[in-house]
């Protein structure tokens, strides 16, 4: 089962393509990080997935073929938009009541006990909660809808480090309890490795990377060796990123640990952050691992 499937998905705002020709199949049961610089099209992709935006071209379906934005799709997806917008003049209790009335499935006990654990008072106005509490409330509302997929747009952007940790802990606990799928966007790369097991990198509206984190990490190595020999690799391996000094060079290439390395070179593994940064640095890199090629690397 796929949480989200897109085919040739494109979205244009006036003259500018926010997303172009994006073909994806995100399996269910994953915690998917959607990464890319500001303006890469992350929000557009998420909005398309939840039906807030309609495609200019292409298709997007969720939860095994339900058209994005349809009634069946909406009942299975909970969306937390950027900055977790809620009605500031409503109390927490009224917000729960409202959300309950806006949905068919709702677990009031779950919502109430979560808020109690988080020590968020029910009679407080939402506008008077801290940023972290608002984010937690939005997550509580999302989880209490008993969705199959939770989509979050930059959930961590405005949170301080402690609130970030607590928010992610709550989200991961929900994943552990309910086995739901998660898709979240972030421009913070450093913290992804702990939570994400599937990675999508968007750059300038185009899909750059998509695949399981384990496969991606296993499918990339950094080769270190004499700078003079760098050209040997350019054709054969098309390095993703080259760091070259007078004598020594580091090349990030797509290869697994078992691949043969020429004498005089050493191969070291890469971390997820390093890998993501390398892709972000080279948005036009001709090495575009689509899901299919990555599967080959992983096998």
């Amino acid at each position: 089962m796929n949480a989200i499937e897109t085919a040739g998905l494109s979205r244009r705002y006036r003259r500018v393509w926010a997303l172009r020709d994006c073909t994806l199949a995100i399996p269910a049961g994953r915690v998917v990080a959607l990464v890319g610089p500001n303006g890469a099209g992350k929000t557009t992709l998420l909005n398309l997935a939840v039906g807030l935006t309609t495609p200019t071209e292409g298709t997007v379906t969720v939860l095994d073929g339900r058209p994005a934005g349809s009634a069946q799709a909406r009942s299975g997806i909970a969306f937390v938009a950027q900055d977790a917008p809620l009605y500031p003049n409503l109390s927490v209790a009224d917000t729960l009541h409202l959300t309950r009335n806006l949905n068919l499935r709702w677990d009031q006990k779950r919502a109430a006990s979560r808020l109690a654990e988080l020590a968020i008072p029910l009679d407080r106005k939402v506008g008077k909660l801290s940023g972290g509490q608002q984010a937690q409330l939005a997550l509580t509302l999302a989880v209490a809808r008993l969705p199959e997929l939770v989509i979050l747009d930059e959930p961590l952007a405005r949170l301080d480090p402690l609130a970030r940790h607590d928010f992610m802990a709550s989200l991961m606990a929900a994943v552990a309890e309910d086995g739901l799928s998660v898709l979240f966007s972030s421009h913070v790369v450093a913290e992804l490795e702990r939570v994400a097991d599937y990675l999508i990198v968007l750059s300038r509206g185009r899909l750059q990377v998509a695949g399981p984190v384990d496969d991606l990490v296993a499918g990339h190595r950094v080769l270190t060796g004499p700078a003079a020999e760098t050209d040997l690799f350019n054709e054969r391996l098309a390095p993703l990123h080259v760091q070259r000094a007078g004598a020594q060079a580091h090349l990030m290439v797509r290869m697994d640990a078992a691949a043969a390395i020429p004498a005089g070179w050493t191969s070291t593994p890469v971390g997820l952050e390093e890998l993501v940064l390398a892709y972000l640095r080279e948005p036009d890199a001709t090495v575009l691992p689509g899901p299919a090629t990555l599967n080959r690397v992983a096998s």
Binding site: E117, A176, D256, A257
Partner: protein, 169 residues
């Protein structure tokens, strides 16, 4: 649940913590902490390991990471899952005997003297040792991939970096 790492979470005698900057994959950090707890006597057979939900709720990590660590512990024969209850310690860690340890240590000290005579300082020795260990574990992994396990416990086939990282630690 709300991320308080200081409180005891759940029925387990141990609680996990993470070293984000260590470079060691998260799941392996969990595995190592269980092994460490076994060695130091914090954990004994029959003890329950922290529940996935509790670990995830306090460390903010992907639940699959915890499951992977527990699977790894099962592969190593140290733990076993009981349906509906959780994961429990089942094995003990095979220790290297004290006399044997002393002997190994003596050999290593001898090598260090030789290295010092050759002009290598402690940092240089550490670099050399790390590189050699990496080569050793890499070749061990290749052999295991060809069906000649060099260790008693089965290792996961893929993650090269993780094996090395464990070897370094």
């Amino acid at each position: 649940m709300n991320g308080g790492t200081g409180e005891s979470s759940g029925p387990s005698p141990i609680a996990f913590r993470l070293e984000p900057g260590s470079g060691v994959p998260t799941y392996l950090q969990l595995v190592q902490q269980v092994e460490q707890a076994l060695r130091l006597g914090y954990l004994e057979p029959g003890d329950q390991l922290p529940r996935v939900k509790d670990v995830v709720g306090s460390l903010a990590i992907n639940p699959n990471t915890v499951l992977k660590a527990y699977r790894e512990l099962e592969h190593r024969g140290l733990a076993g899952g009981r349906p509906g209850q959780g994961t429990f310690v089942e094995g003990t860690l095979g220790r290297v005997g004290l006399p044997q340890q002393t002997e190994l240590r003596r050999a290593l000290t001898g090598w260090m003297r030789t290295a010092t005579d050759a002009g290598l300082d402690p940092d240089g020795m550490a670099a050399l040792f790390t590189a050699a260990l990496r080569d050793f574990t890499d070749s061990a992994q290749d052999e295991s991939a060809q069906g000649h396990p060099v260790r008693p416990s089965r290792r996961p086939a893929r993650p090269g970096r993780r094996d090395e990282a464990e070897g370094v630690a």
